[in-house]
């Protein structure tokens, strides 16, 4: 069964090839069959492989499949090889299944769009790249997947390219993530020059042998890898691209900018966890960045009007939790949260997409309302995703994963209490903005009537993901609640174990998290449903107004970067418009124009001049032959 591993990335890639070559000649049904079918088959293979891996792990708890040698130059010999261990098993199962559900949803969602085949081609290429990324056996192949998902993200954000604003968002996303990617590339080169390999497993073995913990080289290498992760996962200070990435079609936001690609940074850090353990400073920085981002983005999500932007900031905040988890060494908790987040955030985005479609592309939450009665399927599934996001205790998947992260933060020795407090505060914000969204969208007066027939391809993915958002957490029940640690036990073959806390401490932490989450919901009920005038008067005070505006624009990062980087760069580019090199090209163009003028003057249109020219030329030719 494991021998079929290569099919997992290959099937979506084949789907992409077919759609690119023949997509325009196929009818929509066939396009959807190829687009969603290839991913569906890949998901099927991934799940079968996953179950056979779980049922009987191969020798050494890992399986490598080499397809062919990619490059062979001296000791640099990366292969197209797929490495399957418990971490990548989880990754491919989640990525492939969620991708399939979103493809199914897109088949209906994008039906009216003229770029139907193009959309599915990009999406298939994305899935192929993402699966390559998580299965890569060496960092070069991982980087290929990494750039592949980046370019697909760019193409899909700018999918509706006729609007220049979308192109701007796409470029912004590409350039900002490029900052991180460049750091990562430098990091890879550094690793190769010092450790002479880019195979991930040998690399992880050699690093502790060659380097001393906390030495400068280890810190620099880890910092550069972290840079790549920060860019891709939209963490401070590179988070500015993700909210603008919502310009793309909603299934894209669900797949790339919520469930899969943006969590690649978390995967990268988990995959190269040895490097981060070698550099405690950077490891703590990861946690601090995660904690900072989750609070910052939580505040911003609280003030957004646009439902997709609200979800985007929520995504940044939730990835902050994952960074916090991997930063404090709660590796399995981070991956656990990746999984539950993929379920509920994909669900929320698709639910939001259905609402937006039903309200004729209205994205402003203040113009929605009362949708609960109008579209019960979307309401109940959206509610399931929301309670999972808000981590309502016991019954939701989000509770178990967030709880594991908070416990991990508490247990960490590097400022653990502060990180825990930030995580807990973020939890209040999470349930507050989540239920603000619910109350504004589904409760209250009907403001815009809902016109959309929710077909099976829309509600089936929603229902499946709602189910997973609720029960997905039961694979890892903590000591206090049943003690069934299947998920973390499974991951411990590839990631280090987390420190155990005393049972009573865990219970106390859980009670605190549960209270905070319920308190957030109650507060949201009070503020946004019961007495909205309270918020209104709060926002109208000068301080409230300033804070609201400040949070609304995402803490002014866009403004800052515009002043600090974009404008100086544009200014320098303008100033250099006519530098020496330009002058060379201008001179060439000038010469050509002058020569053209001279020669065209000889074209008098008079036949006898031409004859004279021919005669003169003949005389010259004869003279040359005779005289020389």
């Amino acid at each position: 069964m494991l021998d079929l591993l290569f099919l997992v990335p290959l099937l979506p890639l084949a789907g992409f090839a077919v759609l690119v070559a023949l997509g325009n000649r196929m009818n929509r049904g066939l396009v959807a069959t190829v687009g969603a079918g290839s991913v569906g088959l890949a998901a099927l293979v991934a799940v079968l492989i996953g179950f056979s891996f779980i049922a009987s792990a191969p020798e050494g708890d890992a399986f490598t499949q080499t397809v062919w040698t990619w490059i062979d130059v001296g000791s640099f010999k990366p292969e197209i090889a797929f490495y399957l261990d418990s971490l990548s098993v989880i990754m491919i199962m989640v990525v492939a299944v969620v991708s399939f559900l979103i493809h199914l949803y897109s088949a209906d969602y994008m039906l009216g769009d003229e770029g139907y085949a193009r959309f599915f081609a990009y999406m298939n290429l994305f899935v192929a790249s993402m699966l390559t990324l998580v299965l890569a056996d060496n960092l070069v192949l991982l980087y290929l997947g990494w750039e592949g998902v980046g370019i697909c993200s760019y193409l899909l954000i700018g999918f509706w390219y006729k609007d220049p604003a979308n192109g701007r968002s796409a470029r912004k996303a590409f350039i900002v993530t490029r900052v991180g990617d460049t750091a990562m590339l430098v990091g890879l080169l550094l690793l190769f020059t010092h450790l002479d390999t880019l195979q991930i497993q040998p690399l992880m073995e050699r690093a502790p042998e060659h380097w001393i913990e906390g030495s400068r080289i280890a810190v620099v290498a880890a910092a550069l890898i972290m840079g790549g992760a920060l860019g891709k996962s939209a963490q401070l200070p590179l988070q500015v691209w993700l909210p603008d990435a919502m310009a793309g079609p909603t299934p894209t936001s669900a797949l790339i900018h919520a469930a899969t690609m943006v969590t690649a940074g978390v995967y990268l850090i988990a995959r190269t966890h040895v490097l981060f353990e070698m550099a405690p400073v950077i490891h703590t920085t990861v946690a601090a960045v995660g904690a900072g981002t989750l609070v910052l983005a939580g505040f911003t999500a609280l003030t957004q009007r646009d439902i997709k932007r609200c979800l985007a900031y929520s995504t940044i905040s939730q990835i902050g939790y994952m960074f916090l988890a991997v930063g404090v060494g709660a590796w399995s908790a981070g991956i656990f949260h990746f999984m539950t987040h993929a379920f509920f955030k994909a669900l929320l985005f698709m639910g939001a997409g259905t609402i937006i479609l039903g309200l004729h592309h209205e994205q402003d939450m203040f113009k929605m309302g009362g949708l609960r009665k109008q579209t019960p399927v979307v309401f109940w599934t959206f509610l399931a995703g929301s309670i999972s996001l808000a981590a309502l205790p016991l019954v939701t998947a989000g509770f178990y994963s967030k709880d594991a992260i908070l416990a991990g933060a508490w247990a960490s020795d590097a400022g653990g209490r502060w990180l825990w407090a930030a995580g807990l505060f973020g939890a209040v914000l999470t349930s507050l903005y989540t239920f603000r969204m619910i109350f504004l969208t589904f409760f209250g007066e009907v403001q815009t009537p809902f016109h959309y027939k929710v077909g099976i391809r829309i509600w089936l993915p929603l229902v499946v993901l709602a189910f997973l958002s609720i029960v997905g957490g039961f694979v890892d029940l903590p000591e206090t609640l049943g003690h069934r640690l299947w998920f973390s036990d499974f991951l411990h073959t590839s990631l280090p174990e987390t420190e155990e806390l005393a049972k009573s401490t865990v219970a106390n932490l859980q009670i605190a998290a549960a209270l905070v989450s319920l308190g957030g919901v109650a507060l949201a009920y009070l503020l946004f449903l019961r007495s909205p005038q309270l918020v209104g008067s709060l926002v109208r005070t000068p301080l409230g107004k300033a804070l609201h505006q400040f949070w609304f624009v995402g803490w002014g990062f866009d403004w800052l970067y515009d002043r600090l980087l974009v404008r100086p760069f544009v200014w320098v580019a303008r100033a250099n418009r006519s530098d020496l090199f330009d002058q060379i090209y201008v001179f060439i163009a000038w010469t050509a124009r002058i020569a053209n003028g001279v020669l065209s003057d000889t074209q008098t249109g008079r036949l006898r001049w031409y004859a004279a020219g021919v005669a003169f030329g003949g005389i010259v030719a004869v003279a040359i032959v005779v005289l020389i």
């Binding site: 020669l599 074209q603 008098t604 249109g605 008079r606 036949l607 006898r608 004859a611 005669a615």
Partner: protein, 102 residues
């Protein structure tokens, strides 16, 4: 029969060719240009014949036959052009047809 030296023959050919060329360059009437062209062609033919006579070979005369054929073709095209020129410009002046300048 007194033989004509090659130098005299080639000189005659050269003079004829130059006269023809001057005619082509100086004349504005397209008919005269065509006639001058014929003179130039015949000058070239004469040079071939003289050269063939000098070496005692028939090649020169064969080439002259080719030149005659070519001249016939050239004249037919040239006269057709002359007709078109007259139809368009109501004149035989080639300088009238000078619209294709750079």
């Amino acid at each position: 029969m007194a033989s004509i030296s090659m130098e005299q023959g080639l000189l005659l050919a050269g003079v004829l060719f130059s006269l023809g060329l001057i005619g082509v360059l100086a004349r504005r009437n397209i008919i005269f240009i065509l006639v001058s062209l014929e003179v130039m062609l015949n000058a070239a033919g004469l040079a071939f014949v003289v050269a063939g006579y000098r070496w005692g070979q028939a090649d020169g005369q064969i080439i002259f036959l080719f030149i005659l054929t070519m001249a016939a073709a050239e004249v037919s095209v040239g006269l057709a052009l002359a007709l078109q020129l007259y139809r368009h410009f109501k004149t035989l002046d080639v300088d009238a047809a000078s619209k294709m300048r750079g």
